[in-house]
Symmetry: C2
């Protein structure tokens, strides 16, 4: 007998029928002889409704984060009760636990709390008496008894933390995709589902557009060595196992290709090449809470630098506002030059550490298809380039084929 944690997201529990489907799956897993813990999110739509109510009652004021947590935590609390009822309705034995009841203690940072500890005693007692245990994801309680929530992707985080605390044999993240693919199958029809992927590869793919899970949850799994499987809640196909890097992974040079659309590039031209100039630009960007990505700087012989970075096109206006006073203070030569309509293509793989020539192979493939590369940035296991937005799908197909990812 092994102990399995299954996490179901908001879409998977979005209607009474879907909750019943989740109940059936949990029961089927138990019937195979396992102890089963279900971690569930709020029914899809519930959180948005609650946020709207919060806005409506608050006038022009931002709702206090402590109260936001009290409000939002009700979403998951409803789902745990309903899921337990559905299991009961099918003749099974289930018990719901809120974050607090499950012993999930966090720090006191409301709306983005960090899990500090999980005492699995109550969970084990219920499992040992034959219950399926249904735990509210996304929420916990701090040392002073305040309700906290974990922020975006919090339910995945809950599931992985619970799996670590109860020493589960497997943690399954049930979602609306079948697993992690070598590329988006809507772009590359012969993209393959990846059987096994390393935490780091998953992190790099996520940060370059393949959003299956939030990175926080993957990082947590990596830290506490929790193997988890991403699979579909709608069928019984095996999914993708996310685990520690192992030597066999190195034989695959590239694990996957990911693409990010709707990007823009900003170039701050003619920045005086002296200490602190770049720092002032990026401090202003950070203060405006803008996510920027690839950063490239070139210094010309004139002693003026061009600093470029990419960001989502919707953030262009905010970026312009954020750096306006910095540019002014840097003198008349400095200019803000935006370029819209670009996209980002990344290849990710632990294997590239031990295989040289990956970048060359990628650039060659793009060049042979007459696709112009604008910016390049690399990490140890990732190479990203920007291309014209109109070329991105073709670029993905060509690179996918060049690394023979349809044949894994």
């Amino acid at each position: 007998m092994s102990l399995i944690v299954q996490k179901y997201g908001g879409t998977s529990v979005g209607t009474p029928e879907r909750i019943q489907n989740v109940a059936r799956r949990l029961l089927a897993t138990q019937a195979e002889g396992h102890q089963v813990i279900g971690v569930v999110s709020a029914m899809s739509g519930v959180t948005n409704t609650l946020v709207t109510l919060a806005t409506d009652v608050s006038g022009d004021t931002t709702p206090p984060e402590r109260e936001m947590d009290v409000l939002l935590a009700t979403g998951e609390q409803q789902t745990i009760a309903l899921t337990s009822m559905a299991i009961n309705g099918m003749g099974g034995k289930a018990r719901s636990l809120t974050g607090a009841q499950a012993g999930i203690t966090t720090d006191g940072v409301h709306t983005k709390a960090r899990i500090e500890n999980i005492s699995p005693k109550a969970i084990h007692e219920l499992l040992d008496s034959g219950h399926i245990v249904i735990i509210a994801g996304f929420q916990g309680i701090d040392r002073d008894g305040h309700i906290t929530t974990l922020g975006r992707g919090g339910s995945d985080l809950s599931a992985i933390a619970i799996a670590a605390a109860v020493k589960a044999d497997l943690c399954q993240i049930l979602t609306d995709v079948d697993g992690v693919y070598t590329c988006d199958p809507r772009v590359v029809p012969n993209a393959q589902k990846i059987e096994t992927i390393a935490y780091e590869e998953m992190l790099e793919l996520a940060s370059s557009g393949t959003k299956v899970m939030q990175n926080r949850a993957v990082e947590f799994a990596n830290k506490f060595d929790v193997n988890f499987e991403v699979r579909s809640s709608l069928n019984d196909n095996p999914g993708t196992l996310v685990t520690q890097e192992n030597s066999s992974m190195e034989s695959v040079v590239i694990r996957g290709v990911s693409l990010e659309r709707d990007q823009a590039k900003v170039t701050i031209e003619n920045v005086p090449d002296k200490p602190g100039a770049a720092s002032r630009v990026f401090s202003a960007i950070a203060e405006a809470q803008l996510n920027i990505d690839m950063i490239v700087q070139n210094v010309s012989k004139t002693g003026l630098a061009d600093i470029s970075f990419t960001l989502h096109r919707d953030d262009l206006g905010k970026a312009r506002d954020a750096v306006a006073h910095v540019i002014e203070s840097l003198g008349g030569e400095t200019r803000f030059t935006p370029q819209d309509g670009i996209a980002k293509l990344s290849v990710v793989g632990i294997g590239m550490r031990s295989h040289s020539g990956v970048a060359a192979q990628m650039f060659d493939a793009l060049a042979s298809a007459d696709i112009n590369i604008q910016m390049i940035s690399t990490s140890e296991i990732k190479i990203s380039v920007t291309v014209d937005g109109a070329d991105i799908e073709r670029a993905a197909q060509i690179v996918h084929a060049a690394f023979k990812l349809h044949m894994i």
Copy 2:
């Protein structure tokens, strides 16, 4: 400075605008120099939606009561957060507390738990630091950490229990009526709002049709000597103060007239007059969980008794089914005779203890109006009669006038 508990029901918090109205009222009370606790119900409609979801996921099974409590408790938890946000949005300082956080411990009887204890420490600390404290009504937590709910009228009960625990100077039950009236103003247009009423009178009025609050809450207030005021959440009119009986109350013979429509009378005719016969009839009724009211028995010279009782007309069929086997076992003479279309009129007043002739005065008034009295039952402070349903409004008007209740 005094400490005031204000309870707002589901209709009073039914929309974001109404929650803002509640926030304004709580702030205004604090601005008058008081410490303020708000006890709130779920937004009207929310509980019904949750019950429907519970039914939908449960198939043909009744949802487990423990999980029902987990589900329903989210309704009040949402309201406390939203009310606190609304106060915050108006520049005030508020803090929400769930039943568990407010230290409301109950027994473990899910869906109709009894409050065992309230530890007011957290509440006092928040009040002392200038917060308006918003507490979820209707819910608590048992000794094992399970979420419990208090059943119908539970939020009133919470408010009164909290008022007792924090030794509040006043508990206000804010509702959609202006207070308790000498009779339903839709029936008797010159009915008067009662300034002060004794707990016992309130209980008798409630049990005879004037449903302002559940009796459990009134009984609790009586037991713990909590004065409370029933008043409107929609205006600033003074309401009705419910308090211990005092000597000045005796000068008013009748406090109010209440009426109950849609009643039916059942007569079990020719019951053998021997020990246990009546008991078997009423045991069968109790097993079917039917609420019956006035009970009258007459024994004729033949040694056969007629037993009559009243109940809601909708329960007539269930009553017939419930007693069918008892009637059969009592022999061929015994018959079930229903009479539909009757109504009940009651007069209530502590003063009738020390004033004789109240019954005579009531019967005279009805006789003078040619209204036939069918059944009579009396308690120490109440006289109830049944009349033809078509006569009930006229009967109420005549009795109201006979006791000069329009002139209090």
